[in-house]
Symmetry: C2
Subunit: 270 residues, 2 copies
Amino acid sequence: MPTLRRQGRDRVISRLFDAIKDIAASYDIKAIGIGCPGPLDSKKGIVLSPPNLPGWRNVRIKEMVGKRFRVPAAVENDANCAGLGESVAGAGKRASSMVLLTLGTGIGSAIVLEGRLWTGKGGFASELGHVSVDINGPRCECGNRGCIELYASATGVVRRMKKASWSKAALTAEDVFRNAGRGDKKARKIVDETAYYLGCALANIVNALDPELIVLAGGMTRAGRGFVRKAEQIMRKRALRESSRAVKVTVSKLGDDAGLIGAAWRAKEL
Amino acid sequence: MPTLRRQGRDRVISRLFDAIKDIAASYDIKAIGIGCPGPLDSKKGIVLSPPNLPGWRNVRIKEMVGKRFRVPAAVENDANCAGLGESVAGAGKRASSMVLLTLGTGIGSAIVLEGRLWTGKGGFASELGHVSVDINGPRCECGNRGCIELYASATGVVRRMKKASWSKAALTAEDVFRNAGRGDKKARKIVDETAYYLGCALANIVNALDPELIVLAGGMTRAGRGFVRKAEQIMRKRALRESSRAVKVTVSKLGDDAGLIGAAWRAKEL
C-alpha cells in the first residue's frame, strides 16, 4: 500500500492498523516488524522526526503497534530493513558482509556484517549518503558539504541536469537516463558524472569496510547495467588494490520487497 | 626495540627471533601475537608487500614464528593491533564501539565493533586514511585522490607547511606544531587547516558508523589538546546531529604500547 503521508500522521497510522487487522484475520501473527524512515530510536521504537514524514515527531510506534495487537514489535530504519532483506533473502544471500545503497530521492544505506546489521551506538549508523566526497562542495540540507547524496541521488541527477540545460521544465531522473540512452549529449554527461561520483563513494566504502559485496538499489540502477558497470570501474580504479579486487558489485534482487522482508526478519529476531 | 628495517628482512626476522627467545627463557609462552605493517593476509599470516618494510614480499611470518617456537601465532595489521589494544585495555575500555585513527607518517586506523575488530572480507578493512574527502583533490600514492592521509598525517602537515613557506629546510610535524604554539602565523594556519580536514574526516566516520568513541593517536594528538578539540568541533558541526551529539572523542591512553597489547590480545583470542 502507498503511505499517503500527506494525509497526516493519524490517518497513516489508522490505515496501518487496518492493514495489520486484515492480515491478522487470516494469519496468526507472532510479531510485527516495522520499517520506517529515519531518524528513529530503534531500541525504544520511537520515530523521531523524519523529514519524509511531515507531522511525525517522537511517535512511539513500537509501543502503539505492540499494545494494539498484543505481540512484540520491532522498529528499524527502512534502509536498514532493505539491506537486511537483501542479505537474508536477496542479492546478499551468500555474502558474509554487504553494503546496500539505495539511490532514490535521497541515498539510503545499510551495513550488514556477518549477517547482522551494524546500526551503531545509537542506531544512527550507515548514513552513507551523507559521507562527503568533497568537503568544500555544495551545502547539503544535513549541514555538511559535498555529501554523495547531492550527486548520486535521483534528486541530485535532476538538479544537475536542470542546471546544465538551463531548464525549469518538470523532469525526473528517469527522463535523464532515457534521454541519455537516446543519445542526448548533455543527459549522457550527467549520467556519466553520476556514475563517476557514485564510483568514488564506493571506493571510500571499500577502503573503509572491505565488504564482500555491494548491492545497489533504486530506479537508476535498474535503468541500465552500463551505469552500474561504469561506477564499478571507477571504484576499482580508485579503491585500494587488495580490497577492490575482491569486492563484488551487483544490483538489488528484491526491489521494493527488500524492506518488507527485512522488517519481518527484524521481528523474527526478537 | 626499534625495527631497524633498513638492515633488511632477514636481519629483522633474526633479531625478532632472538627477542622472543629471550622472553621464552623467563616465561612460558602459550601463543605469539604479531603486529605488522600492512597490507597482509592476516588469516594465512602472510606479510604481502608493505611499503614500510622494504624487501618484504609474501613473507609467511605466522608459519615461521609458529614453527620455530612451537606455539600458535596470530598476525594482524599494526593499526588494527593498536585499535584492539586501546579497546581492551586503554581509552576504549568502556566503549562498545570504537574507531582509532593514528596520525603518523600515514594514517593508520582500526574499527572495533562490540569488542571485536572489523577487519573486512579479506582483512583489508579500516583503511580510513584512504577515504577521500576531495575526489578532485591531489593524487595519493594509493591511486586515489584527496585521501585524508594527504592532509592530516604528519607527512601531509610537513608537505603543506613547506609549500606555504616556500621552504626546503628540513622540518617535522613537531616543528610545525611548536612554531604554531609560539605564534608563527603560517604554522598556525597549517595546524588549523589540519584540524579542519581531520574534523571533516571524523564527520564521515561518524555518519557511516555511529561509533560510541573515536580515539586519536600519534604525536600530533599529543602536541596539544587544542588541535584535537578543534577537530572535534568541526566534526560536531558537520556530522548528523543524532550521532554526532553522542560520540565521544579522546586521545590514546596506551601510546606505543597499544599495538603490543593488541597483538598479545590477538594471540589470546586464538
